[in-house]
């Protein structure tokens, strides 16, 4: 897909111009055990070589065209948009990718890199299970051993994805420590990596972790925004007023935002998990509450932490957004004012989820339903002249159990 010729680029605003590599302003960096530094250096070199290697790029493009199902389509959703203040709403359909979410974009690329680096085993953390399923899929495709770490709480609420990973041949390790959710799965994956780094590549599933992960994962997802920008222009003859995406770690958001960063007239809006409300303390709205910068899992970013700097447990109805920190580039975009962040509560999310199901026949992931709830609010603020591009990052099959229980639709005797 080529860029639309009428669209003139604004000034590039790239991290490559920032003074410290691996930093987004004050955020990012590498806060890791020294034992991992050689592996991070090796990875950084490999991904930089791959970025300019036609053979790698051709192989990735071939996989995306014949395996992922790219380009993913865009769908205008007028019946849903009627609940968004009458604004035009266009969905970028990452839910239609193979394995059911945007995660496959990054995973296929990292798995190719792992093979190039001579690694025979990949590991991953997963929250909702979408990244774990994508990693298990890529490992099956490329003949790599695969172990996925998943918090025990998440293995229960996303049981379907646990089954998918195991059927694909991956070992799924439930993690019991701490809050037994995504952050604890990352802790355990890091322990595995530091032990087995000689043979193993850690496919981090979001735009966090030590450098080069935030930059690299963003770049592997940037295809979302590249496609969507041209598709929206072709459909509507203009660029959207706002691009809206949910933000847990923030990979789908960085993927769709990145190409729009130079388009100064396009608002970039991330939607965090407001859980039971920010005042309740049970949420994952890192930017909305009194969060301050801190270090978790190798990166400096905003962090939910107590007076001592201990990580505070997050809460969200969606396992994929249930994370107390956020990708460092989001922290940079927020503090620089280029992107804005709001949150949607579990109640608002379930309303948006139900609406999209019943007005458009599309069942979104609960994560993506946060972006939809954001679109409902933004559309009402901007009114009927607005054009909103929403990243529908994943499909909701995995969430049927949670949604049915919430909506009171579970068969009698199963509650």
């Amino acid at each position: 897909m080529s860029e639309h010729p009428e669209v003139v680029d604004g000034p590039e605003l790239t991290v490559e111009e920032l003074p410290r590599p691996g930093r987004f302003g004050d955020f990012g960096g590498r806060f890791v055990p020294e034992a991992l530094v050689p592996a991070l250096d090796e990875l950084d070199e490999a991904r930089q070589k791959a970025a300019v290697d036609p053979e790698f790029q051709d192989e990735l493009a071939r996989l995306h065209a014949t395996y992922t199902g790219r380009p993913s389509i865009v769908t205008e959703v007028p019946r849903f948009a009627a609940h968004c203040g009458g604004a035009r709403v266009v969905l970028k359909r990452e839910d239609l990718n193979h394995t059911g979410s945007h995660k496959i974009n990054n995973v296929l690329a990292q798995a190719l890199l792992a093979k190039r680096m001579g690694k025979t085993r990949v590991i991953a953390e997963t929250g909702a299970g979408q990244h774990g399923v994508a990693t298990a899929t890529a490992a099956a495709l490329m003949g790599l051993d695969c172990t996925v770490y998943m918090g025990r709480v998440d293995t229960e609420r996303q049981a379907l994805n646990v089954a998918r990973m195991r059927i694909l041949g991956a070992t799924v390790v439930p993690v019991e420590h701490g809050s037994a959710t995504l952050k604890d799965a990352i802790n355990e994956a890091l322990r595995d990596w530091v032990t087995n780094v000689g043979t193993t590549h850690y496919i981090i599933g979001t735009v966090t972790g030590p450098h080069p992960f935030p930059e690299m994962v963003r770049d592997f997802h940037a295809i979302i925004g590249e496609e969507a920008r041209a598709q929206v222009f072709e459909l509507t003859g203009r660029l959207p007023d706002a691009v809206i995406a949910c933000v847990g770690g923030g990979s789908n958001a960085m993927g769709i935002f990145h190409r729009f960063v130079p388009d100064a007239g396009v608002r970039l809006i991330g939607v965090e998990a407001g859980g039971e409300g920010v005042d309740s303390g049970r949420h994952a709205a890192r930017f909305a509450a009194d969060a301050t910068p801190g270090v978790l899992h190798g990166a400096m970013s905003y962090l939910m932490q107590d007076d001592d700097g201990q990580t505070v447990e997050s809460h969200s109805i969606s396992a994929g957004l249930d994370y107390p920190s956020v990708g460092p580039e989001h922290a940079f975009l927020r503090d620089s004012g280029r992107a804005e962040y709001r949150y949607a509560t579990d109640d608002e999310v379930m309303e948006a989820f139900t609406l999209l199901c019943r007005t458009e026949g599309i069942i979104p992931a609960l994560e993506s339903a946060h972006a939809l709830a954001g679109a409902m609010a933004v559309g009402r603020e901007l009114g009927p002249d607005a054009l909103l591009l929403v990243n529908l990052s994943g499909r909701g099959d995995k969430d049927m159990h949670t949604a049915a229980a919430w909506l009171g639709l579970a068969p009698e005797g199963t509650q």
Binding site: G29, R30, F31, V32, P33, E34, A35, L36, V37, P38, A39, H177, G178, K183, D184, N187, L190, R191, V194, T195, N196, V197, G198, T292, G294, V295, L296, H297, G298, L303, Q305, D308, G309, Q310, T311
Partner: protein, 276 residues
């Protein structure tokens, strides 16, 4: 730079003058309780630890294995605070050993690097071991530790390249912590031959003393490593000795017994290197 208290280099030099490696014992503050951990640290000193590495429990201890994870999460659940580490440091200093603090970086960062350094120095701490801070990210800590005369212990690992060994050891003061093996903390039946090779590679690029940690749990291992390293660091084995659900007194005795054996180990090592 000025310091009112002895740094860890002096302690290592004194041990070297006795023809032996130093014994460095790790325990987290707050396990099983704050008061219990202070008693346990006094036991370490009485039984022969030259340096006590006081750990601060942290919610996300990514380089710790199951034994220390369990102990530190119990300590946190019981209400242990970062402030408690300074009490522990003062206790170790009073008991007659050199206190070093081991902390994951966010706890230092959140308190404020300068404030943390000031509090640590005021309590009599010799310095800080930083398992998830590499020299490239440590500008603020290097400046603060210089101002307060504190030791800076960074880590190297078997995976470290010669360039990394130079980079890391040149940022260290006191000693460099060499991880014996790739992995997390926890006792191992044999400590890799990686350890000896790593010490040799470190010695080739620096005069900074080298202490070996990860996996050491027995008198025999202490003797074997003490033969070529400047210090032997023991953590999980001590925490395990202190573990269990019963009365504290017998657990402290188990800790004393193990520490006494380890102290004997570093004293029976046949020194194979003659370091400056």
């Amino acid at each position: 730079m000025s310091t009112a208290v002895a740094g860890v280099a002096e302690t290592l030099a004194r041990c070297r003058a006795e023809g032996r490696a130093a014994l460095v014992g790790y325990l987290p503050v707050g396990y099983p309780t704050v008061e219990g951990s202070l008693e346990a640290m006094r036991v370490l000193v009485e039984a022969g630890c030259d340096v006590v590495e006081v750990g601060i429990p942290y919610s996300d201890p990514v380089i710790d294995g199951p034994v220390i994870q369990q102990a530190t999460s119990e300590a946190l659940a019981a209400g242990t605070r970062v402030d408690d580490v300074f009490t522990a440091v003062a206790t170790v200093r009073e008991a007659g050993a050199t206190p070093l603090v081991m902390s994951y970086w966010n706890l230092v960062l959140h308190r404020g690097v300068e404030r943390f350094a000031g509090d640590l120095a005021a309590a009599g701490g010799a310095g800080l071991i930083t398992p998830d801070l590499i020299p490239e990210e440590a500008d603020e800590w290097v400046a603060a530790s210089d101002r307060h005369g504190l030791d800076r212990v960074f880590l190297v690992a078997p995976s470290s390249t010669p360039e990394r060994l130079v980079r890391v050891t040149s940022a260290c003061r006191g000693f460099v912590y060499a991880a014996s093996t790739m992995g997390v903390t926890g006792a191992r039946s044999s400590v890799d031959t990686d350890a000896r090779g790593l010490v040799e590679r470190v010695r080739a690029v620096t005069d900074v003393p080298v202490c070996i940690g990860l996996g050491v749990s027995t008198r025999e291992q202490a003797a074997e490593i003490g033969a070529y390293a400047d210090g032997v660091i023991v953590g999980s084995a001590l925490v395990r000795a202190l573990g269990g659900d019963g009365e504290l007194a017998p657990r402290l005795e188990a800790l004393r017994t193990l520490t006494t054996r380890l102290a004997a180990g570093v004293r029976e090592a046949a020194r194979t290197t003659d370091q400056p």
